[in-house]
Amino acid sequence: MRIKPNEDPRKVFANWLITKRNPWFTRVVVNRVWAWLMGRGVIHEPDDIRADNPPSHPRLLAYLQKELVGADYNLRHIYRLILNSRTYQQSSIPQSTKPRAESLFAHYIVRQLDAEVLVDALTTVFGPRERYQSVIPEPFTFIPEEHRTIALADGSITSQFLEMFGRPSRDTGLASERNNEPTDAQRLHMLNSTHIQNKIERSWRLRQLLKDAKGNKKNVIRKLYLIILSRQPTPDEIAVAQAYYKSAKMNSRQGAVDLAWALINSKEFLYRH
């Protein structure tokens, strides 16, 4: 393979990668997409592709590979196939207690939100944005505020939050570099850090919501559920929240702050489910 003087070597590489004679690329990439969406690869772990680590569903993998080649290597086609499948759309509440249920995709696999997604979700809920800067080289470059965290192109642009919640430094390119295991430090951060406290207490969205509700607590509760968990509260949940306002003798603002705090600390918010 030769790279001509004015040619972008990345294009040459990409063309080499997607030749039909190269089954390895399609195998790796469809398996990764599956693993991103489903929480587990057809070949598990997704980095561990070798002859004696067979896929759990060989025909599924072969089908996805064929579809990718057929769609001229358009990954969106693969996303569409998986996202529209009944397998993807299953409930996360297990229907079977058999130990292999999870590895055979018998239910949706619950897992912690990725660091970038979590911080973007908090930003969406409360309003004020995160600030990122590129520290190399000096002088520092600030990333425009409207940039979402998932769109940060450079692994060296990071924050304490992102590192704490397991965003990889992208040293190896392995999927296993991302560690989504919960840690004590993460929990402490979500429950009681200045960062999270500021996000809630300085939230212009929360302020607006309280203003619009004009003291109607039930309305506040409903809206917080919609914003944070994208669903209506159940009658039981409304009762619990109302009782909290009363028992704690809290003004409507403190009560709303605490309810928002409880909802972003719920498993329903912190986990894909």
Binding site: Q160, L174, N179, P182, R187, H273
Partner: protein, 444 residues
């Protein structure tokens, strides 16, 4: 070497004896299999790293050059005798001069790098940047001395007072479990608001009540019982509340110290950080970094030194004295230094108007306790402090010596879950310079 407590001849002699005894008497070291830690037992239990963020001037602290003149010294042109014969420090450090028997000075630190990022990485990992981001000394200590090795303290094993360093990933590829716990807040404030442990404006009562609220609204957790992910999250929550309401809160409460003690350390952030570090050592925390910012003095160098050196002098001297009085210095390493020194020649011209730039070719590090003998000077710089003339010490020599005292084999492997074949330090690798570990001051 007139200033040193140890002559060059002695240094060479001790160095050789050190190496000789190792080879003759400790074949375990040569035969040690990477999986069995048969390294000699630890002398030190804790490290207090005083990270001089930005790079402190060696001339204005531990390597004074009064003969070099105004071009080099500016107004800080006096050296001061210490309580050790022949050992001098800058006259700006009168209290530290009285404690010199407790610490040694390396005046020949070198790596030649003048960029903050690379130099910080090098000074805290011992490695030059490569594809893998190596963990810092603190992360390595918490790997070998942390929760998986019997550490059962009330706070995490690697604590940073108070801000994370930026410019530098402490845990490297080891990941977030080995990141330090950064306190934030100001230990000199009326209330030291420790990140995650003390919340501004939220009473304990409200904390507990909203915890109940959280639990009663845990609809998904109740719907999916027995999920292993959720069980883990519940465990971390227990630990988090343990920190918020357990002994940790008391530990960080500097109000428990007498006013007299707090005054001894100095009523400023650095002084109170030193006091906090001592409290952490007392409960067995193996690695504490005081991230002492503000030493990157390209401009306003001398006014800044006049303001900061007295605080540094008081805090550090009191720490040495206090640890000694509590019989803790023998088991606690104090490591003072930054990513590099500052240019010996003062930049009097505009726009600096009396500043010092980065200088990685030759600078100083101070070490005390935990098996490092005090009262010695290792190596020497030239007449202006620009280059090393005797016994170069490279970052891996310094870090290797600290590992040795902590009972961690510096030549051993770096265990990792990625299955990578890595060593703790690149000693002996091609193109990696080493002046040898600090046998001169290692207590045996």
């Amino acid at each position: 070497m007139a200033r040193s407590g140890l002559t060059r001849r002695e240094v060479i002699k001790y160095g050789l004896i050190g190496a000789g005894t190792l080879m003759a008497c400790d074949p375990r070291l040569l035969l040690a299999s990477p999986k069995t830690p048969t390294f000699k037992p630890a002398q030190a239990k804790s490290v207090i790293q005083i990270w001089m963020w930005g790079g402190p001037s060696h001339l204005d602290t531990f390597d004074p050059k009064p003969q070099a003149g105004n071009d080099y010294c500016g107004p800080l042109d006096q050296a001061l005798k210490t309580n050790v014969d022949g050992m001098q420090v800058n006259a700006a450090l009168p209290l530290l001069a009285q404690q010199a028997d407790k610490y040694s000075i390396i005046r020949s630190m070198t790596h030649g790098v003048n960029a903050h990022e690379t130099a910080s990485y090098l000074m805290q990992t011992g490695h030059m940047p490569s594809r893998i981001v190596h963990p810092s000394v603190g992360a390595v200590v918490s790997l070998f001395k942390g929760y998986k090795h019997g550490y059962n303290g009330i706070v995490p094993p690697y604590i940073v007072l108070t801000r994370p360093q930026g410019r530098f990933s402490e845990a490297g590829f080891l990941g977030q479990s080995y990141k330090p716990f950064c306190t934030s807040g100001d230990p000199n404030a009326k209330r030291f608001v420790v990140e995650g442990i003390v919340a501004r404006g939220i009473s304990d009562e409200r904390q507990l009540r909203r915890r109940d609220l959280l639990h009663s609204l845990d609809s998904l957790g109740q719907a999916i019982g027995g999920n292993s992910q959720f069980t883990k999250l519940d465990q971390t929550e227990k630990a988090a509340y343990g920190l918020m309401f357990g002994e940790a809160k008391q530990l960080f409460d500097l109000g428990e110290e007498s006013d007299e003690m707090r005054n001894r350390y100095g009523r400023n952030s650095f002084g109170q950080s030193c006091l906090m570090a001592r409290r952490l050592v007392e409960v067995g925390v193996p690695y504490i970094t005081i991230n002492y910012q503000g030493w990157d003095t390209h401009k306003q160098h001398f006014p800044t030194m006049n303001r900061r050196l007295p605080q540094m002098d008081q805090g550090l001297a009191t720490l040495l004295k206090d640890l000694t009085e509590r019989n803790l210095l023998d088991s606690t390493i104090i490591w003072w230094g930054g990513e590099f020194g500052r240019s010996p020649k003062v930049q009097w011209n505009s726009p600096w108007n009396g500043g010092r730039s980065h200088h990685g070719r030759c600078f100083s590090v101070m070490l005390a306790g935990g098996g490092f003998q005090g009262g010695h000077v290792i190596g020497a710089s030239d007449a202006t402090g620009t280059g090393v003339v005797d016994r170069p010490v490279y970052p891996l020599d310094l870090i290797g010596s600290i590992y040795e005292l902590m009972g961690i084999d510096p030549d051993g492997p770096l265990p990792n879950s990625q299955g990578l074949d890595l060593k703790l330090l690149p000693t002996g690798e091609k193109g990696v310079k080493s002046g040898g570990r600090l046998k001169e001051i290692l207590r045996t």
